[in-house]
Amino acid sequence: MPSFLDILTEALGLILSWERALSEIVILSLRVTLTAVVISCVLGLPLGAMVGAFRFPGRGLLTVILNALMGLPPVVVGLMVYLTLSASGPMGALQLLYTPAAMIIAQTILVTPIVAALTKQVVEDLHGEYAEQFASFGLTARDRIAALLWDARYSLLTVALAGFGRAVAEVGAVLIVGGNINHVTRMMTTTIALETSKGNLELALALGLLLLGIAVIVNASVMALRASAVRATYA
């Protein structure tokens, strides 16, 4: 077996000799993951804010469910989405199985509970501070949610990043619903799994490093944005 150092050297060489096939995989990964994260935020931010800011019957149960869903194994989500989108499943007529849309759906299901549960925490703290003033203003529920989300926006960036982290590193669900089809649904993580199973450890590691690099870049740019914005407008 080649040493880790050999593999690492070769991996770096592979990244440097950037190939078109690789860029296609990276672009698809980002497209699927970012879309899933954006949809998860559209769904999860208001949901989390609602649970965080209001007292209503079933709130405790909803919180428990959201927290439990955070730990949902990707493979289980993949199976659920597969069974739903399968030609013999309830939504087979949509013909979404083995498409990027199917992967986006699976990742959205994985990420939304994370976004909602973390948003709940952030908003709950902020609402504790604002509640009396909002009551004095006589704000409607909708305005409260909007104001809380807006004022927590920089903390919520971190929430979105947590969702991104879960989605971008996920392989179990997208493998099942995407099928890892070359040029169609092959993402970075599924390629890493495939190349590992082919024994091409150098390529797999190269892709792993690339994935790590992309995750670092995304995180660093969001945190830099947050830091400068916080300094400028927020305290």
Partner: protein, 275 residues
């Protein structure tokens, strides 16, 4: 301002969701449920472009274990089934899920092992004798354990040996529950013997000091078959395009393409359609 950015970001993301795959240029595509061994060997990358150039039908391959491939096809999630477990394939057709089964090609299974060869089976031709010895000395043996074609073939061989290897599961007999390549990675890591198809082995990039110890027994023959999923059972099946692919694979051109696929000068699959 930022609000507008978020809005446009959301809008474009939703748009991206609605758009088809960036590289799915062809209007028509079929889904082929196939096995990891064909995919990992690189065969599809060799032959599919030839077919696609000729017909403008894009072939999307979902490579999973034979067992899962058959189940997916039973759900109608695929137009063509291309696997290697003859008995299961015939059952698939008999139950009405498939139209008809055709032989496509074969290769053979080999047993690979560490250079130390703890069971002393290197050079053996007789697979039954080799497996018997491995079981006797309780040398580590890594099994796919995933209901794949290779796994079914391995279980068939143990049956002939007359040893209930699965009873030793967790001991010297180790089921990885994963694909061929993953099982090679895992098995090599623990110095185990592994039954693998020759194509995957030749294409496998992480051989290390492992080598073939048992080969050439007719019992290790590995036949691949191709079946059109029954459109009468599953109306979403693209029968015409699927049949076009099957016809091509069985045609002289298709068979030649399979024969032409070599790695390091070694032919991986031997076409035998109609034979």
């Amino acid at each position: 301002m930022l609000r507008r950015h978020i809005f446009s970001l959301t809008a474009s993301a939703l748009l991206a969701l609605a758009l088809p795959g960036a590289t799915a240029a062809q209007d028509q595509f079929i889904v082929v449920q196939s096995t990891t061994s064909t995919q990992n060997s690189g065969l599809f990358e060799q032959i599919l472009p030839l077919f696609q150039d000729q017909t403008d039908i894009e072939v999307r391959v979902v490579a999973v274990g034979t067992g899962q491939a058959i189940k997916n096809a039973m759900n109608g999630d695929g137009d063509v089934l291309f696997v290697h477990a003859k008995a299961a394939e015939e059952a698939f057709v008999a139950e009405g899920h498939g139209v008809e089964r055709f032989d496509v090609m074969y290769n053979d299974f080999v047993i690979v092992g560490p250079p130390s060869d703890p069971a002393g089976v290197a050079g053996t031709r007789d697979v039954v004798a080799a497996l018997t010895k491995i079981a006797e000395v309780q040398a580590p043996f890594a099994s796919r354990g995933d209901d794949s074609g290779t796994h079914k073939a391995e279980l068939r061989l143990w049956k002939e040996v007359g040893i209930d290897a699965q009873a030793a599961s967790g001991g010297w007999y180790r089921e990885t529950g994963s694909g061929m390549g993953a099982t090679l990675n895992t098995g090599a890591g623990m110095g185990a013997y592994i039954l693998t198809d020759r194509a995957t082995w030749i294409a496998y990039g992480n051989k290390g000091d492992y080598q073939i110890v048992v080969e050439g027994d007719p019992k290790m023959f590995n036949q691949y078959g191709i079946i059109l999923v029954n459109p009468e059972k599953h109306p979403t099946v693209k029968a015409e395009a699927g049949q076009a692919f099957i016809d091509w694979v069985l045609s002289e051109a298709g068979q030649q393409a399979i024969a032409d696929y070599m790695i390091e000068g070694k032919q991986l699959f031997f076409p035998n359609a109609g034979g």
